[in-house]
Symmetry: C2
Subunit: 295 residues, 2 copies
């Protein structure tokens, strides 16, 4: 069943020391004393017969071996946190914490607008937003519900198709007034284009749309879509934006809307076994009903 011999608590202080960089800092963070934290590390090191930190008067420096364990230790922390969160609220109460994962853009541009009436209706509920682009978050227990733009493949996930978001090219009206409005795709080459930097997925996606849209053809490159959006709004050039978001911004104007438009399926995802947890169900259903009109 459980074959592990090492006290799980030791991993927790291991993580804290590695993150904080010193016994003392970790101790403050964990609410323990510096000697105990030191003893925990000692204990862990003798258990695994391996040195995890280089000691110095300036703090504890993780060895390579310790660094290799960090991702897993973090996972452990995620699970613990999630476990605690789920345990602290009843299954069928409309109270507790719900953690929602989404991309930066969706999380900043759309979601906040949807929470007003929801939080009004359920005063006991707390919502946490975990923004990022990884789809791993549901698996790593970083969130209870996720808004995703790709169809989830994993089983043991409950997914509902919310609708289709369309993305297109947009630019600030002032920019277009000054630099002209492209009439055809070829006109784009003369423009300041905004797009991804080194994110392989996005670049590949862009080139798939039109081979002319290589990475080098972009004048402003940034992997943060939120920053790209702000750049658009600042009038720096032409870039990709979701139609729904652009539509709600009077300063933005569509560019070549008929020749450049691609759909993105939008999915709402949660863990299978959380289906019947009241607070999660509430958020899930609320998003399912309100999100579509924002796409």
């Amino acid at each position: 069943m459980t074959r592990s011999q090492i006290d799980w608590a030791l991993w927790r202080t291991f993580l804290a020391v590695a993150d904080c960089g010193s016994l003392s800092a970790a101790a403050r963070h964990l609410g323990l004393s510096q000697p105990t934290v030191g003893r925990h590390i000692e204990q862990l090191e003798t258990s695994i017969r391996r040195r995890l930190f280089l000691r110095s008067q300036q703090g504890y420096l993780p060895t390579e071996e310790a660094a290799a364990l960090m991702t897993e230790a973090k996972d452990m922390a995620f699970v613990a946190e999630s476990l605690e969160r789920r345990a602290s609220a009843s299954t069928n109460d409309a109270s507790g914490i719900v953690r929602l994962a989404a991309s930066h853009v969706v999380g900043t541009e759309i979601l906040p607008w949807l929470f007003g009436p929801f939080m009004e209706a359920h005063p006991g509920l707390e919502v946490e937003l975990a923004l990022g682009n990884s789809n791993a978050d549901l698996f790593r227990h970083e969130a209870d519900v996720a808004v995703r733009m790709v169809r989830p493949t994993q089983d043991n996930l409950l997914a509902r198709r919310i609708g289709t978001a369309f993305a297109g090219l947009y630019a600030r009206t002032e920019y277009l007034d000054r630099h002209g409005r492209p009439k055809m795709l070829a006109d784009l080459s003369g423009h300041r284009l905004i797009g991804p930097d080194r994110d392989a997925a996005s670049i590949g996606f862009l080139e798939g749309l039109d081979p002319a849209l290589s990475r080098r053809s972009l004048r402003l490159r940034c992997d943060s879509e939120a920053a790209q959006l702000t750049a658009l709004r600042a009038g720096l050039g032409i870039g990709i934006c979701q139609r729904g978001i652009a539509a709600r911004d009077a300063s933005l104007e569509a560019v070549l809307p008929q020749s450049f438009r691609f759909p993105m399926e939008c999915w709402l995802v949660t863990h299978d076994d959380l289906r019947h947890v009241r607070r999660i169900r509430l958020l899930f259903d609320h998003l399912a009903s309100t999100l579509p009109e924002w796409l």
Copy 2:
């Protein structure tokens, strides 16, 4: 960083009690005494202000709330185990435990044959086989390396395409002697077909190949592919089998090999950050070089 307040060790005994069904059994299993296990549960329950077990003289029965936490608690155990395993062996030693995930069929029919020379060459290495059909195992830290028949979608995974395995219809020669050899697809309907039971993915897949292959057309249904294979070998009927496996079994004979043959990409997958861990790399490379000829 770590917002959890609850001692991680408590979750460990929580899991043990829920799994074992009683304080005493859990205590034996954990190497603790029955009173401490009881105190742990008490402590956990007061921490989360929720009752996790129904007490009785016959043992501790998990409440619904506790049941809802089980998957996560198990995940925690997986991570802890994996952490311990990875920590106990040096990054650049050819020693320690490597855990390999694969389907039941691959794990029973192919992999054992590949380990001989490998374990000979690396006496310090221990190999664990985690057989199952879920692709979640890498994520849930159940394994270090996985053999998968679908292209892995997650990022932060290192995947190498091993080759293409072909699957086709096969039956035992005796069966075909007695019941005749189908000459065309339509002939199949008169035969005893062996296939999946309720596994939605497999059923959908089968129907996609040929609409005639509905679930009802199957005479022996079982979700275990290994059992299907044994049924084939027992001469119970016609079923799907990987070409490589069937080729090594003289009693099996291909059925309609030209009209029914579908490819499955075979992938070797590991975590990104484990690329440089010696023992994992060794297994990965060994499989990459020996597996293709067995497909």
